[in-house]
């Protein structure tokens, strides 16, 4: 199981890659493994406002459906179009092509509440 050390994590199993004001968000390798084959990812349109730890989408696997929580407050500026026709990219490459949304953050102070890779590893072990 992969938990890259340059990313931030939430206890709801999302990861973030921070680039200035923009956070790229996806679900962790652990989360995709627990869910199993992903059959559908429901995401809001670009432009939608998201709130800290509020659900903004859902991820459907063969045996379960989970909410995807926003790790930060802000506005979605881009969604991963790949997921529409190939949702299993989330299973194959959760930290790469399996990303879900890019969020323009309104309060980077929120980042302090996120988990480091080590913290996250402790949580799931």
């Amino acid at each position: 199981m992969d938990t890259p050390s340059d990313l931030k994590y939430t206890k709801e199993h999302e990861w973030l890659r921070i680039d200035g004001n923009t956070a790229t968000v996806g679900i962790t390798d652990y989360a995709q493994g627990e869910l199993g084959d992903v059959v559908f990812v429901e995401l809001p349109a670009a432009g939608t406002e998201v709130e800290l730890m509020k659900p903004f989408g859902t991820i459907e696997a063969v045996k379960a459906v989970s909410d995807i929580f926003s790790p930060v407050t802000g506005k979605i500026v881009e969604i991963n179009e790949l997921l529409e026709n190939d949702p299993m990219v989330v299973n194959r490459d959760p930290y790469g092509d399996g990303w879900m949304v890019k969020v323009e953050m309104t309060d980077t102070g929120e980042l302090g509440q996120l988990l480091s890779a080590d913290d996250y590893l402790k949580l799931i072990q």
Partner: protein
């Protein structure tokens, strides 16, 4: 006649197995005060022959109507005998919505055919395997929309079947959803009032085509209003009248629901009925109920499956937007047979004949003193007629005296409409029966 097949020997085997000495001992944990003392106050059991005789005697008390002119969502259409013969085949009669779905290919195929027929009828992309009735389908549509749009306000036109509104209210009770009714003006949804009520909190508008008064609504106008705020247009349609109108899909509907009873089901004293439910493709993952699909197996042979089950509550659990996981299998089968027997042209002919006869009857009624059409708008198979005395009195009198059910008393549903009778005439009514109705209303 032995109604309980267990013998004393069977009972002893079962009691021995669980280590209990007698049936009395099995019941011991039940407190004494809760136990029945002495026999139930019931008459002596009858033999099969005596029982049949008694039921026949009781059934003679039923009055048999000469003609029915009541509609309001449920209509007295002709049902071809072939339908009943096909429907009573054991494979259909015993077919429940399958849980181990793929073992019942025939059942799945019938459901798939039903869904396809409903899509053809409504112009929508996808229909589910059916629901309990039009009212619960309407409530499910509202529920779907509120969850999908994540909005809390729902508008329902007063011209939608008032029983649907009741069920919508019951269904959504306890949820944080505000249901606002939009009044009618001249028998159709008041466009200006609707415009005032629509805002960015609005998840959907529920309308009916034709509406409960039998009139044609301007659905395109409603579509524009609600879509401007990102809400859904829900249209409740009558499947027979729909044959003569632009499809709800062409009018911009996101969700189409309706009562399928006119498609080959008897009046059944008001039930069981048959709800149908169709959506645009974008809403397929929010669709309530079962969904059958056609596919190919690994050898390339065609087959049928239940599909997209991640929508359903056994996977989605508390996040499911519906807990319907069944369908109205036998009634949906009847409707599928009816639509297949009649075909598009046959259904259209039923609609046209019903329309001609309704207009003929309403014209004749309105030539009587004190009777006139209640609203000016065009109608298809049903019309509201003003009466010189309360409609309820007329119905009671004619029902008793002439054995005719002349229509529905709109005063039961709308304040100030005690003197309005809702009259529907199907293709089944003869000229003689229409004359009988007019004569009965006259005297």
């Amino acid at each position: 006649m032995p109604y309980i097949p267990n013998t004393d020997a069977d009972r002893k085997v079962m009691l021995d197995k669980i280590g209990v000495g007698s049936f009395e001992e099995l019941l011991k944990p039940i407190p004494e005060k809760l136990r029945l003392k002495g026999p139930l106050n019931l008459p002596e059991a009858l033999s099969e022959m005596e029982l049949l005789r008694e039921i026949e005697e009781i059934s003679k008390k039923n009055s048999s109507l000469k003609a029915i002119f009541a509609g309001g969502g449920v209509y007295d259409h002709f049902i071809p005998q072939a339908l009943n013969n096909l429907l009573s085949r054991p494979e259909f009669v015993t077919a429940y919505t399958p849980y181990q779905a793929e073992v019942s290919q025939g059942t799945l195929q019938v459901i798939y055919e039903f869904q396809s027929c409903i899509c053809r009828l409504t112009g929508m992309d996808v229909a589910n395997a059916s629901m309990y009735d039009g009212a619960s389908a309407a409530a499910e549509a509202v529920s779907l929309s509120a969850a999908n749009r994540r909005k809390s306000k729902v508008l329902v036109s007063e011209t939608v079947n008032p029983l649907y509104l009741d069920v919508i209210k019951t269904y959504l009770a306890g949820r944080e959803i505000e249901i606002v009714t939009v009044p009618h003006a001249g028998g159709v949804t008041d466009y200006n009032k609707l415009k005032e009520s629509v805002d960015d909190k609005t998840a959907c508008v529920v309308t009916a085509q034709p509406n409960f008064f039998g009139l044609i609504e301007d659905i395109d106008a409603v579509s524009e209003l609600i879509h401007n705020v990102g809400g859904h247009l829900i249209v409740a349609v009558d499947p027979i009248a729909a044959m003569l109108l632009k499809t709800p899909a062409e009018c911009g509907a996101d969700i189409v629901v309706g009562e399928g009873q006119p498609l080959g089901l008897p009046l059944n004293f008001g039930g069981p009925l048959l709800g149908f439910f169709a959506v645009k493709k974008e809403l397929i993952r929010s669709l309530p109920g079962r969904l059958a699909a056609k596919t190919v197996d690994i050898e390339g042979k065609p087959g049928f499956v239940l599909t997209l089950q991640t929508r359903e509550q056994h996977i989605r659990r508390d996040k499911a937007t519906s807990n319907i996981c069944t369908n109205q299998a036998l009634c949906a089968t009847a409707a599928t047979i009816y639509m297949s027997l009649l075909g598009k042209s046959g259904l259209k002919r039923v609609a046209l004949l019903s329309m001609e006869k309704t207009h003929k009857a309403v014209d004749a009624i309105c030539s009587l003193p004190g009777y006139e059409v209640c609203f000016d708008g065009p109608y298809i198979r049903e019309a509201a007629v003003k009466t010189p005395v309360p409609a309820g009195e007329i119905i009671d009198r004619i029902l008793d005296r002439d054995g005719i059910l002349p229509g529905i008393d709109l005063g039961r549903f709308y304040a100030g409409m005690d003197n309005v009778l809702l009259v529907a005439v199907t293709e089944k009514r003869t000229d003689e029966e229409i004359d009988m109705l007019v004569k009965a209303l006259k005297g």
